[in-house]
């Protein structure tokens, strides 16, 4: 019992199946195996013989795990069209998402800091010290927007069960796009652009954010899987 189920579980985890899904799939196959075993026992087979027959009937656990993951991939549009989703879609969606998230963050900051009072804001930006703080906060919000937009593609890759390769591909495309998208604030003005702008400071840092997100997601996933397998083994 342990061998078949354990092999299935490990393979599903290796293939990047979400943990909740692994639990459910493994439980279901274990139930099925138990039914096969009971049927074999009812036919007069001994305990060991019944278990062996149930395993034979269920087939190769590695192939079963592969089929389960393939079914999960086929079940979503993202999973069926992974080249479009993780290579082409970021080219269009990433800049739009980034801009929307940036505007949302700026709106939130405006609401929390100045209660939507534009007069207060106009007075504040005329002070050079306050404006310097604004620029710092703006850069911070820019980085957060980039990270969140990238995270969305990581989430999509996980949901579509397409594996790490396509998640990293999407993050690499996002990283390249950060080099040609930029935002800037000046007193009473806000600019965004889609050009290579070598005058901007820390453009390399923007480019590194999607890659750092990919790295963080990879480490997180790896640790979660490791912990899950250890917990199950106990």
């Amino acid at each position: 019992m342990r061998d078949f189920i354990e092999t299935l579980r490990r393979r599903l985890v290796e293939l990047g199946c979400p943990m909740a899904q692994v639990r459910r799939l493994v439980q279901e196959v274990a139930d099925h195996r138990e039914d096969l075993k009971q049927a074999a026992l009812a036919e007069g087979l001994a305990e060991v013989g019944a278990e062996v027959r149930a395993d034979v009937q269920l087939g190769d656990p590695l192939a079963l795990a592969d089929h389960l993951m393939a079914a999960q991939r086929r079940s979503s549009w993202w999973g069926r069209h992974f080249v479009v989703t993780f290579c082409l879609l970021p080219l269009l969606a990433f800049p739009v998402l980034w801009l929307l998230l940036l505007l949302l963050e700026m709106s939130l900051a405006f609401a929390l800091g100045y209660g939507w009072d534009s007069k207060k804001l106009h007075v504040a930006v005329n002070d050079p010290v306050t404006f310097h703080c604004f620029v710092t906060v703006f850069h911070f919000m820019d980085y957060i927007a980039l990270a969140l937009a990238t995270l969305l593609f990581c989430w999509l890759a996980r949901r579509a069960a397409v594996g790490l390769k396509w998640m990293v591909t999407a993050c690499a495309v996002c990283s390249l796009l950060t080099l040609i998208t930029w935002g800037k604030i000046e007193p009473h003005s806000f600019f965004v652009g889609f050009t290579v702008n070598s005058h901007l400071h820390l453009q390399w840092l923007r480019g590194a954010i999607p890659l750092a997100v990919a790295g963080a997601v990879y480490v997180f996933e790896r640790r979660t899987r490791q912990r899950f397998l250890e917990k199950v083994a106990d």
Binding site: R24, L25, E28, V29, D31, H32, E34, D35, L36, Q57, L58, G59, P61, A63, L64, H67, L68, A70, A71, Q72, R74, S75, S76
Partner: protein
Amino acid sequence: MLTGITVIGMMAAMKKTNPSFLNGVPELLVLRLLARREMYGYQIVEEIRAQTREALAFGEGCIYPYLHYLKAQKQVTSQRREVDGRNRNYYKLTARGRKRLDELTTEWKRVTTGVALLLEEQHA
């Protein structure tokens, strides 16, 4: 014997010439059975084997990729329930699943009628 794996392989081969010929046979069988009553995986496999007089049979594990695909497509729903001291995932057909079943049944009848006509012509 028609296993899940066999069907997948055949589906890929048939796709270029006639995608509707074997494509969807496992889906049709599962949806047809679930249209009658709620069932769990083992029950579905046994029922297919029994009702087709063992002419068609899923590989025991192969039913789950189909069931999970159908669930993701919202053609079936599942619920974990305890019956006779055993916890099992019972699958139930949804309205979308019923619609899909009607489409597949119509398509299957069209194909089998065509094949039957051709076979009759050859015998005549």
